[in-house]
Amino acid sequence: MSTCYTIHHTRKSVLSALAALLALTLLAPQSLADKIVVKGSDTLGAKLMPRLKEEFVAQEDGREVDVTFEIAAEGSRTGITAIIDGTADLAMSSREVQSSELIMARKRGVNLRAIPIGVDGIAIIVNEANPLTSLSSREVEMIFTGDIEDWSAVTTMSGKISPYTRNTSSGTYSTFQDLALYQRDYAPRAQKLAGNEQIAAEVAANPYAIGYVGLAYTHTPGVKVLPIDGKLPTDYQYPYARPLYFYIDAAKKHSEAVQEFIDFTLSPEGQSVVESVDFLPVSRIKELFPELARE
């Protein structure tokens, strides 16, 4: 009798617990009017985004309601995924959206819109002690795909090459795969590091290292930027130049703050911030990517 009783009431308490959880869930999708959740690229997030945010907040100081920023920068893929999942308002991306993501977005009724905000050249960096002075794009491909594993193939130094790449969520990782590796897979030897800064730091400390970083990260002492096919990353027709984007879900209604922030980024003030962290301004997109401007 008493066990029967207990079981009955245990079930009741379980149900009520579940009901409580459910109630919490129902409360959940309350998004705030003036909160901007930004997720995505580390290339943009580690340096440019905090600066843009500060500048934006400083400009908006007279407003009645402040804008709250939540920023997470774990790689472009995290940002676009978050837009598709609806967990972010704005995605930072250092690459274009990929077909797999487009398909996923279409499935969920998300309309991804790209807003170019600047241009970056992926710079190839080596340690200062490395006798190399330049590389051809074929050599870059062979080094990062693992065709070449020893420095003696390309320079007058011997020793195993330590290639450093970004982790898979990074836009730089996929863009580089498209631009430099002919979509081939990276060498398994390549070490996947969490951020541009870390790659620069490791290359600065390891004479056998080679890595790639965004333009904003080339000033680390101890590394040197190699010209590729004779061109420096800021030059016209540098093979690894790429636009940087914000992505939003155009199918969703956005708070004013998001639009204001995007407008600000594209305004002269915003673009001067972009330049201050060594990226190229969006105005150069026409010149660098004629095919993009046509679209």
């Binding site: 959880l21 919490l24 869930t25 409360l27 959940a28 999708p29 309350q30 705030l32 009017a33 003036d34 909160k35 959740v37 580390d42 997030g45 580690a46 340096k47 985004m49 905090p50 600066r51 945010k53 500060e54 907040v57 400083a58 309601v65 402040d66 709250t68 920023f69 939540e70 920023i71 997470a72 920068a73 999942d85 967990t87 969490a194 951020g195 541009n196 800064e197 870390q198 620069a200 730091a201 000033h219 680390t220 201050s276 962290v277």
Partner: protein, 347 residues
């Protein structure tokens, strides 16, 4: 010397004696090697971090570091001198006055302080522990006092004990899948609370239960024999004696919750959030759905993604020290409590 050799009561030198001295020395060396390694880590962080966190003049702690949000650090040169300024100060000094700002190198997050991260960690710990302690201690009381002894109870106990050893990242994976994505809490305090609470739950249940069970049976029998009800018995004859043990395990749980990075990485922590969680809310309960900055994640972020140079290093070590102090104080309390309770109750 001769007299000593003649003394028949002195132990003879033998290989086993040499071996004994050797092994003893070896073990002692190993023991002190552990202490040395731990000391090196702690002292490095204390030494470098204290330069950021403490200062020589009143109030002896760097209030700015502890009460400000992180901001970009500007480093520039004026008249051959290198000047460092946080972003707000830099703005106040130049742009707001309409002056041309000097060309500066900027280091993200290196200026200002870590106040939001401290607050975030405290909030996470408080919420998670509330959930874990209510659930955990009540469950422990049920398992040890009410539960019928039998195979079911043994199985439950065994599974809980085993779950205590499951890596925190697995709980993070679970929390991310269930709370963040499936229940759509997004990255928020709530998701972080539940993830952390469930992570320490097995630890708290098994430790509390052990504390309860170590109270001798006689106490309970005596109480019941005097006519006490079951609850009175638990309240007066069991809980007071088990309390130190429960408290110890709970504090240890707090230290674990505060110290873990992996579970909150994808459930609660943001790299940068410029408002405190309770600011700018539409409803009071929205606080539960705010993401926070947290010390462990902040430390991970700044050590993995920012360069290590003289400007950023201070903030990195400062964060590490504040975090270490926060966690160490809790852990130390628990260790001392345990030692005290060990010596007090010897049934």
């Amino acid at each position: 010397m001769a007299t000593m050799r003649d003394n028949p009561f002195l132990p003879k030198p033998s290989t086993s004696r040499v071996l004994e001295t050797f092994v003893r020395g070896l073990f002692r060396g190993l023991t002190y090697l552990i202490l040395l390694c731990a000391s090196i880590i702690i002292l490095t962080i204390v030494y470098k971090g204290s330069q950021t966190v403490f200062q020589l003049s009143w109030p002896f702690v760097n209030m700015e570091f502890l009460t400000q949000a992180p901001e970009t650090l500007h480093v520039f040169e004026i008249d051959g001198k290198t000047v460092e300024m946080g972003d707000k100060a830099f703005r106040a000094a130049y742009e707001d006055k309409g002056l041309m700002s000097p060309i500066s190198r900027t280091y993200a997050l290196a200026g200002g302080g870590i106040f939001p991260a401290i607050i975030g960690t405290l909030l996470l710990v408080a919420g998670a522990m509330l959930i874990a302690m209510v659930l955990g201690i009540a469950s422990a009381i049920f398992l040890s006092e009410y539960g019928k002894r039998g195979p079911v109870l043994r199985l439950i106990r065994l599974s809980i004990l085993n779950l205590a050893g499951v890596p925190s990242i697995v709980y993070g994976l679970f929390g991310f899948g269930l709370f963040v994505i499936f229940l759509d809490f997004n990255k928020s305090l709530l998701a972080g609370w539940f993830t952390l609470a469930f992570m320490v739950l097995p630890v708290i249940i098994s430790a509390s239960e052990e504390a309860l069970r170590s109270v001798p049976k006689g106490f309970r029998e005596a109480s019941l024999a005097l006519g006490a009800t079951k609850w009175t018995m638990i309240r007066t004859s069991v809980l007071p004696y088990a309390l130190p043990g429960i408290l110890t395990s709970s504090i240890l749980g707090i230290a674990r919750v505060a110290g873990e990075t992996a579970p909150i990485m994808f459930t609660a922590a943001y790299m940068l959030r410029d408002h405190l969680p309770w600011q700018e809310l539409n409803h009071w309960y929205d606080i539960m759905f705010q993401g926070v900055m947290a010390l462990p994640y902040h430390l991970y972020y700044v050590s993995a993604k920012l360069p290590q140079n003289e400007y950023t290093e201070r903030m990195q070590y400062g964060t590490a020290l504040v975090f270490l102090i926060l966690v160490a104080v809790m852990a130390l309390t628990s260790i001392l409590l345990r030692i005290r309770s060990r010596s007090r109750h010897n049934w």
